[in-house]
């Protein structure tokens, strides 16, 4: 470390400065490559590591080379201490948490980034206040930075609490006008500070508007996420993720820092596209998600539901074992019960009996797009057995048994044949086209969309009630004994 410092001391001021800019450039390029690689299954892991490498470069270079009016970074021991605390906590949390809790974890870390961005903007405010003059350039970045960072922080915390089951939904129509009003007030506040130079004619802007903005943003973040249903949380997290990117970019603008700017904007735009893609997978518009329309109008079809037929574990085992082709449709129930390993074991048992088994993965199965793939991969289910919805649907009419484990809305035929249903138009796995359907479910509760599922009343469907883990355990025993 000492020798590095010797070398650095010999560098002229401009050398260090150019080196810093060069490293920021490299870091930005690595971010782009990292994101690109993350979007392909084969290179995804490397992409993540490259982006992390770019980040390390940017951080180290900032500590070593950053200058303001020739003054180097001070308080380095304190910075390193803060870094050690954050890194240890981040590492431990990220390593310890169960795979099923991944979505709320992403939300948590996103909130931390948002809070960080808001803090930075907040701390920079007194500086420009003291400097005098009319610093439009800085104000134009500080105010939105505070606003977006704070919304992202409180919003992410609420999303975290919701996914973790600590916070319920709050659905009242009154929230919508309130939210729109808050949004308008925040925007007006920003514009007001910018267009009325007389309020800081004496060289002082006064921190009041910023603190006011901070408070309103915090409330808005909470109220913005509160009414949104649990199933839509991934979309919200993705949206908040791009918000934080934007907040980081405002920080980059403030400091004329290229790494922050490119990194932030990149995430901001990529995150927005990702949000739109997620909405599209559910056949819903972003506005629809934000307005919290899901589960709003529940009673679409007041048809007599028909009768439910149960099946014993023993019969289910026989039916499965003597089938040629079986397709498993896993849902969040499987993840909650932590039954992915047992599920794979059942599949192995069936394969020993010569049954061909595949998994049908709905784009939004589980709690996040791709979440189910991650969980099944954790249980060592081979990648090629996981079929996407469009791939498996044509095969389902030739499938002897479809086993639905803890999934509900993604196999609800109402999405295809009931125009009045809230989920009408959402692409589904067409389980009802198979020859037999076995539905494993804890009880007759409704899914996230809170609507009746007529698949359960289909004459071809048999229900297997119970916790997915227990039921699978029993099923495996029965199959072994056959």
């Amino acid at each position: 470390m000492n020798t590095i410092h010797e070398v650095i001391k010999t560098l002229r001021f401009t050398d260090g400065q150019s080196l810093l800019e060069l490293i920021y450039l490299i870091a930005s390029v690595l971010f782009v490559f990292g994101l690109k690689m993350l979007s392909k299954p084969d290179s995804a892991r490397k992409g993540n590591l490259w982006a992390a490498f770019g980040m390390s470069l940017a951080i180290i270079a900032t500590i070593l080379f950053h200058r303001v009016d020739g003054e180097p970074i001070r308080h380095i021991p304190l910075i390193l201490l803060a870094f050690a605390i954050g890194a240890t906590a981040g590492w431990v949390i990220a390593r310890r948490v169960k795979m099923t809790a991944m979505p709320q974890l992403v939300s948590l870390f996103n909130g931390m980034g948002g809070a960080c961005a808001a803090l930075i903007a907040l701390m920079e405010f007194p500086h420009i206040d003291a400097a005098g003059g009319v610093p439009y350039g800085q104000l134009i970045t500080i105010m939105p930075g505070v606003m977006i960072g704070t919304v992202s922080f409180t919003g992410s915390m609420i999303a975290f609490g919701k996914l973790n089951g600590n916070i319920g939904d709050l659905r009242t129509k009154a929230l919508r006008p309130v939210n729109i009003l808050l949004l308008l007030v925040m925007l007006l506040l920003i514009v007001w500070v910018l267009v009325r130079p007389e309020i800081y004619a004496d060289g002082h802007i006064g921190a009041l508007p910023v603190y006011l903005l901070l408070a309103i943003s915090a409330v808005y973040g909470v109220l913005f996420v509160m009414p949104i249903g649990g199933a839509d949380m991934p979309v919200v997290i993705s949206l908040l993720n791009s918000f934080t990117g934007l907040a980081a970019a405002f920080g980059g603008f403030l400091y004329h820092n290229q790494a922050m700017l490119t990194g932030g904007i990149l995430v901001g735009s990529a995150g927005t596209i990702l949000t739109v893609l997620m909405c599209r997978a559910m056949n819903r518009s972003l506005l629809n998600v934000i307005a919290g329309a899901f589960g709003g109008g529940g009673a679409a079809r007041e048809k007599e539901a028909g009768t439910i037929k149960e099946i014993s574990v023993n019969d289910a085992a026989v039916l499965l074992t003597y089938s040629k082709k079986v397709v498993v449709v896993p849902g969040y129930g499987l993840a909650v019960a932590q039954a992915q390993h047992l599920c794979n074991e059942m599949v192995k048992q069936l394969e020993e009996h010569g049954v061909e088994v595949q998994f049908a993965i709905h784009p939004v199965a589980g709690r996040m797009p791709g979440h189910m793939n991650v969980l099944l991969a954790e249980a060592d289910v081979p990648y090629e057995k996981l079929k996407e919805m469009d791939e498996i649907n044509p095969e389902l009419p030739n499938t002897d048994v479809v086993v639905v484990i803890g999934a509900n809305d993604v196999v609800n035929p109402a999405a295809e044949d009931d125009p009045g249903s809230p989920i009408y138009g959402m692409p589904i796995i067409r389980a009802h086209t198979a020859k037999n359907i076995i539905v494993m479910k804890r009880g007759m509760g409704k899914g996230y969309a809170a609507i009746e599922n007529f698949l359960f009343y289909d004459p071809k469907t048999r229900m297997l009630f119970g916790n997915a883990k227990d039921t699978l355990q029993k099923l495996i025993e029965e199959i072994k004994n056959l």
Partner: protein, 102 residues
Amino acid sequence: MSEVFEFIYVNREMLFIVALSVLLGIEVISHVPAVLHTPLMSGANAIHGVVIVGAIIVMGHAHSTSAIILGFFAVILGTLNVVGGFVVTDRMLEMFRKKPKK
């Protein structure tokens, strides 16, 4: 109005970067299989942790005690975002590793 033009002129290079980065972000992400949505979101989440750079700058040039304390927290939060984000993403992607590609 002239202030706005001045702002645009002073920051013209930054605005170029913004415009091009937006397009780049859209281009990079637009053809992603649904399987990778979650890891990708998580990876992007880690990348915006680049705010840590701003936190270091604020902290490193802080003069008052209150600024140092706030900066300290900002660095902790930023680090949580960066380290937690990358580690979680890696853990998710680790799961895809063993897949024997046909």
